[in-house]
Symmetry: none
Subunit: 195 residues, 2 copies
DNA sequence: CACCTATTATTAGCAACTACTAATTGTAAG
DNA sequence: CTTACAATTAGTAGTTGCTAATAATAGGTG
């Protein structure tokens, strides 16, 4: 149970709770916050949060809204971009988990490491759209679930719309993967107009 | 509007309607079938179909579980294994979707194609644990969301615990990707460093 | 003190039900 | 034709989770 919060604090928390679990009724919320149902209703009203039933309908109808937020914002890049100099180099980090590993051995599946390298390589190219053309990968050492991978990418050469990017992935200072990727930038003048 | 159906026929249709659109209330159904609300309720009862609200909750919980599967990478193998001859060759299929693509172009991210190729290559190796060592990838043509990819893998050479697997991925007969992967089988000492 | 805000209480009403009982209609068999 | 029985419809009471509105109460602050 939660007690003695300022109105603002409480409303913030209510918002978080509802976001996490849209199935919470006003009654359950009032119990959680040890506050009257009416206050919960007032809070919802002030924040413009619809009643539980409408929230459930939204969730049921929405296959896309969450996905859009997720796929457009977060999952554009595998791992977390730490530092980037467009056209030159970049660093990304990926914390590996059990879901990325083979169940039996705990070794991270190779394609997760490739995904980290590939998406980092693509994101350092200073262009609207970039596609991978050719890649040479070398896995040096198995990576176990729980290890944190640091990927460094560098544009080694570039000619026209063709970039050679080399990526080194290390875990705890030791190199576990290297790759050379040829990336092509695509300037789609057809579809886009603004910068 | 629907009229003059036998009880059984009507119940069948009601079932179909609800399956198609779980958001239909008893009132709307009664109007659709020009029958009383009570009859709809009796029909639902006989068929064990819950009320609209509970149906919506079901849908809402389904879509949220779908999200989990989507955002977390649970599948052991990317794509669907169609045919396999251990140690020799295998075929896998991947139906591409929007979540696998760049939002603005609809082009499938390269790592999904690699994942398909890599996991197929690993699964045709007849061993407990197999790891990818070196890979050469070549993306021939962009793949757009919605296309169905067919991956064929073949063990080209093998010496000791080292296998050279070549993978060809086609979409609609046209080759979109080829790769040569060197896979190592690991029998016991997983923790040992590999060559 | 009055004023103000926040909170709580109370009431009426709605949608979409469950659960139950009762009345009506249809239809087929004795 | 009448009875029997199923199918349908009607009606009532009670539930959940609300909206909307109005009023009462408690706690400060100037």
């Amino acid at each position: 149970m939660i007690r003695d919060l300022s109105k603002l604090e409480r409303q913030k928390r209510i918002k978080e709770y509802i976001l996490k679990d849209p199935f919470l009724s006003d009654k359950k919320l009032s119990e959680l916050f040890s506050i009257s149902v009416q206050t919960i209703r007032l809070d919802r009203l002030e924040m413009g949060i619809p009643e539980m039933r409408k929230r459930i309908v939204q969730v049921a109808k929405n296959t896309s809204s969450k996905d859009k937020v997720k796929s457009l914002k977060k999952e554009e890049i595998i791992g977390e971009l730490i530092d980037i100099e467009l056209g030159k180099n970049g660093i990304a980090i990926l914390k590996t988990t059990k879901d990325m590993a083979f169940g039996r051995t705990g070794i991270i599946r190779s394609h997760y490491i490739f995904s980290l390298a590939d998406s980092l390589a693509i994101s350092i190219i200073d262009t609207e759209v970039a596609l991978t053309g050719i890649a040479r990968l070398s896995y040096k050492k198995p990576v176990y679930a729980g290890e944190t991978l640091v990927a460094k990418a560098r544009v080694a050469r570039s000619r026209g719309n063709k970039y050679l990017v080399s990526v080194h992935v290390k875990s705890d200072q030791k190199e576990v993967f290297t790759g050379k990727l040829v990336i092509f930038s695509v300037n789609d003048k057809v579809k886009k107009e603004k910068a």
